[in-house]
Symmetry: C2
Subunit: 219 residues, 2 copies
């Protein structure tokens, strides 16, 4: 997956475009405002002044060819909805859209957005928890190379207890939670005697390298 379109270059779109470009992606950014496009012109592959609600414009710019599109239009809910609609109609496989409200988010899902983002709601939730619990860090100290990963269908690990698998010492990976059963019920911090099932979804903390290592040994 190499080519990404970002529609709307407000704060969120701006930071996202720059970061993806620095990670080696081919990033094309669109915005209606000239000055906004100017600001980001040298920091991504291409930045164009355009109204994303106009399907012909999107086609002419070759937006239909991207692997992923992010609709980062904020306050103009209608533009965000129409743009998302066009992008899915054009056959773009994955479209991520920012929503201003629950209703907006549901509408975007209904017209095909593959993932909805709620930046303000999520930060409000995370801050509220930290205000209630002053010792709490709501984030993983964000280290470039570490993250939380999902491992689906851990067939080669199934039937064994976590104690036996000893992922922490073997791979430098911690099992922080497991989703299991038909209900996909989440168990945090499973105990050492927990036996992994084939249909479990394991939620793991580790470096990219450790995850690759584990995936190589188990798939």
């Amino acid at each position: 997956m190499r080519q990404i379109a970002i529609i709307g270059l407000g704060n969120f779109g701006y930071y996202l475009g720059r970061e993806l470009y620095s990670k080696g992606f081919d990033v094309i950014g669109l915005d209606v405002q000239q000055e906004v496009v100017q600001k980001v012109k040298n920091e991504i592959s291409e930045a164009v002044v355009a109204d994303s609600t106009d399907k012909d414009t999107l086609m002419a710019l070759g937006i239909g060819q991207v692997d992923l599109a992010v609709v980062a239009i904020g306050t103009n809910m209608l533009a965000s909805i129409i743009t998302t609609f066009h992008l899915k109609e054009m056959g773009i496989k994955r479209v991520i859209a920012k929503a201003l409200s629950e209703a907006h988010g549901q509408i975007l899902s209904r017209i095909g957005a593959n993932e909805i983002l709620f930046p303000e709601r999520d930060l409000a939730h995370s801050l509220a928890r930290r205000i209630q619990n002053p010792n709490m860090l709501e984030y993983l100290p964000s280290i470039q190379d570490y993250g939380i990963f999902e491992l689906i269908h851990p067939r080669k690990l199934s039937g064994k207890a976590l104690r036996e698998l000893d992922l922490t010492n073997q791979y430098g990976i911690q099992v922080i939670a497991i989703r299991s059963g038909a209900e996909k019920e989440l168990t945090f911090i499973p105990r050492a005697d927990y036996i992994v099932k084939e249909n479990d979804v394991m939620i793991l903390l580790g470096s990219n390298q450790a995850m690759d290592h584990l995936l190589k040994d188990t798939t």
Copy 2:
């Protein structure tokens, strides 16, 4: 800490106010826009139409008495700066402010904001990582009762290896990282033979209840 003021009731301020109120805090919200204040009136303790850049108004509303103030003013950078300045001048112990840019954030710190939030930048960073690493979840599946906590000066745990402390099975707590040494260097997923030092800062994952339990036994 019981009384919280939220200045600016856009999406972020709105969601934050409602959530803090539902957690039992006394929440007063201010915004210049009548319709915005109307929308949240029944969901927090008090919502007032006011211009937060006017210090007399803030004083008259008793804002100087709150334990925490959150400046959730978005696009109007000057109003956000002036408001933050007044709040610190009025002696409010903790002021958290949302910033639109790095420069804005630095200015807010300079005038006394205790914590700066960068919602769009942080979400852009987290999404960029997930786009690069499709198996990665950038968040802890956010369960009401679980969180990541910092444990400072773990005196009663020091001198022992993690294997021996066995926090996972004893308390349902995982040590996901440790900051140690003068450099406060971060080690992720310490191994079972890691020996805890008195000056370490332990970064722990667990439920509130488990953390209380551990704190009771170790302090």
